[in-house]
């Protein structure tokens, strides 16, 4: 049961082979047994979960169930959920019980009837690529517990990989869905910016943040995405678009698909064996009827520098709300108001979050704004234009998701720049606002490799189709780590 797809689970629920309470209990028991080794969940609340499961069972019995009613899911702890502790991986919010639901949570609970198993660990305020910046400790990669699961959605990735949950939500500002998906052998999708509401999703860099699904297959991701999207007047950048079924094109043949291979993604900087797995996947696509064309993203090497101006600038503004007044941590001892702010923020934020706030404060400060912030925004335009140009000759862009497989815990923790460069292939996609995926495409030394797919704006259905057809022809995505009994 734990390895079944969402569609199979939905069928089992509809056929009354299993109830949502039984299914949820199965996963809750696994969490209780295995989470101490992996640290994927930071909050589990059996009673709340079972109450949702009972409500789902009632909907199923009444014949008012939707396609995913009763299916358990893990929620990244960046999404506010009413009555649930919502920490964002930070001491600052360690005791914050959200008084409201994020739109994604509301849609999954109230509309879809899904059942939340708990909140998953993450890099503090989603700032990290290894999950090591979490206040709640490292998450272990289920494929090798001496290695990182990736980040920032590392807890969600580890939870699904270890089958502590059938699927999870994630968020992606610079690669935080795709990179952990790659490192944990999952399928993850970052939608086009504006498709999934950001309301109640604790803000890191608002012009880049986007929520999305993480699961075992493209089909699972399509079904989850159907529950997550939609216009939301509470999100000022939410896009008002006609509804679509993201699973509608899954089975379309790939004959004539033009795959763009950016020469910049196939040069130096990527582990040779990772590259070999990516090339083998592309050869598989050619067998499925696709053709390859070389494209160029000539400014892609500037994506990491531009990102580390834009994202910290937005973060320094967003995180100014954590001042010890309206919610979250307040320092126990302080003098005047300024001292209260200074001590609260010094004690409540971890080292990486402070670093990014300081970078942001600097690049936005008088005398540096033009040289850094505006220059970064101009480069962002060049990077986005490169994609526009590339999509004139191809339908989907492919390359590696991450330049290496999962690295050792602690390996890059002391060197921020090395950590930042692990997102070298994913960041440009956020800057442009395009949809991107990572899908499993092989193993190096027993560790998973991810293939990145980038689509044009609003091409989620096509990306899911391209991913699904590959998953019909290969079984990389169906492999499970040895720790699963």
């Amino acid at each position: 049961m734990i390895n079944k797809s969402l569609k199979e689970l939905a069928q089992a629920l509809a056929a009354k082979q299993i109830s949502s309470v039984e299914l949820s209990t199965l996963f809750l028991d696994r969490i209780e047994r295995l989470n101490p080794d992996i640290n994927a969940f930071v909050t589990v609340d059996r009673e709340k979960t079972l109450a949702m499961a009972r409500a789902a069972d009632a909907r199923i019995a009444a014949g008012t169930a939707g396609p995913l009613t009763g299916i358990p899911i893990a929620q990244k702890d960046i999404f506010c959920a009413e009555g649930w502790t919502t920490t964002c991986g930070s001491k600052m919010l360690a005791n914050f019980v959200s008084p409201y639901d994020a739109t994604v949570i509301r849609k999954m609970h109230s509309e879809a009837g899904m059942v939340s198993l708990g909140k998953t660990n993450m890099d503090e305020f989603a700032m990290g690529s290894s999950n090591e910046t979490s206040f709640f400790g490292q998450v272990k990669n289920p494929w090798d517990r001496t290695r990182v699961p990736g980040g920032s959605s590392g807890g969600s990735a580890a939870a699904v990989a270890a089958r502590l949950a059938p699927a999870a939500t994630g968020t992606d500002t610079g690669g935080s869905i795709r990179q952990p998906a790659a490192l944990c052998n999952l399928t993850g999708l970052k939608p086009t910016y504006g498709v999934v509401s950001r309301y109640g999703m604790i803000a890191f860099a608002s012009s880049l943040d986007q929520g999305g699904p993480m699961a075992a297959s493209a089909e699972d991701c399509a079904l989850l995405l159907n529950t997550m999207v939609g216009f939301d007047e509470r999100d000022s950048t939410s896009l008002d678009r006609p509804a679509e079924d993201y699973a509608r094109d899954l089975d379309k043949p790939l004959n004539g698909l033009r795959i763009g291979l950016p020469k910049e993604f196939f040069g130096e900087g990527c582990d040779a064996e990772v590259m070999a797995a990516v090339r083998a996947a592309i050869a598989e696509y050619e067998k499925l009827g696709a053709t390859c064309v070389e494209v160029s993203l000539p400014n892609s090497h500037l994506s990491v520098p531009a990102y580390y101006v834009i994202a910290p600038a937005e973060a320094s503004s967003n995180l100014s709300r954590f001042d010890g007044v309206r919610y979250g941590y307040r320092a126990p001892d302080y003098g005047n108001l300024d001292d209260m702010y200074m001590k609260t923020r010094a004690q409540g934020f971890g080292a990486e979050v402070k670093r990014r706030i300081l970078i942001g404060a600097y690049v936005l400060s008088h005398g540096y704004y033009d040289a850094y912030y505006l220059q970064a925004q101009r480069i962002r335009r060049l990077i986005a234009n490169d994609f526009v140009e590339a999509f004139k000759s191809c339908d989907v862009i492919m390359g590696p998701t991450s330049p290496s497989t999962a690295f050792k815990l602690g390996e890059k923790a002391a060197d921020p720049v090395q950590m930042y460069l692990s997102d070298i292939y994913t960041i440009a996609v956020n800057l442009a606002g395009l949809p991107g995926m990572s899908i499993p495409c092989g193993f190096v030394g027993g560790l998973p490799v991810g293939l990145q797919l980038v689509g044009n704006y609003f091409a989620e259905s096509q990306l899911l189709n391209v991913a699904h057809r590959y998953q019909q022809a290969t079984d990389w995505h169906a492999r499970r780590p040895g720790m699963i009994d």
Binding site: S320, V325, I359, Y362, S365, I379, R380, R381, L382
Partner: protein, 95 residues
């Protein structure tokens, strides 16, 4: 470009984050490493390129000036560190 220790302390003050001398020194090293990476941007001529603030070219929506929210003050204040009579308490700011 490299940041001086004084600049690091000044930014920390702007960001309202207390920083010890030891922390400032470590932070200085890390920030200068990061700015070395960022400096690659300066080699690019971006004359005439329109800055891109957002992925979608949409303008701010307007709505009717009408009450759409219900009063949930008690629920929102329940998560505050210190409140009294519906107010958020902070150290005295007016003598």
């Amino acid at each position: 470009m490299s940041l001086t220790l004084e600049q690091v302390k000044r930014i920390a003050h702007l960001a309202r984050i207390e920083i010890s001398d030891d922390e400032a020194l470590t932070t200085q090293g890390h920030l200068n490493g990061i700015f070395q990476l960022i400096e690659q941007m300066q080699a690019v001529d971006t004359t005439g390129v329109e800055p891109m603030a957002h992925a979608q070219d949409v303008s701010q929506r307007l709505r009717e000036d009408a009450v759409t929210e219900v009063d949930r003050r008690a629920a929102y204040q329940a998560v505050a560190p210190e409140t009294e009579a519906g107010l958020y308490l902070v150290p005295k700011v007016i003598e």
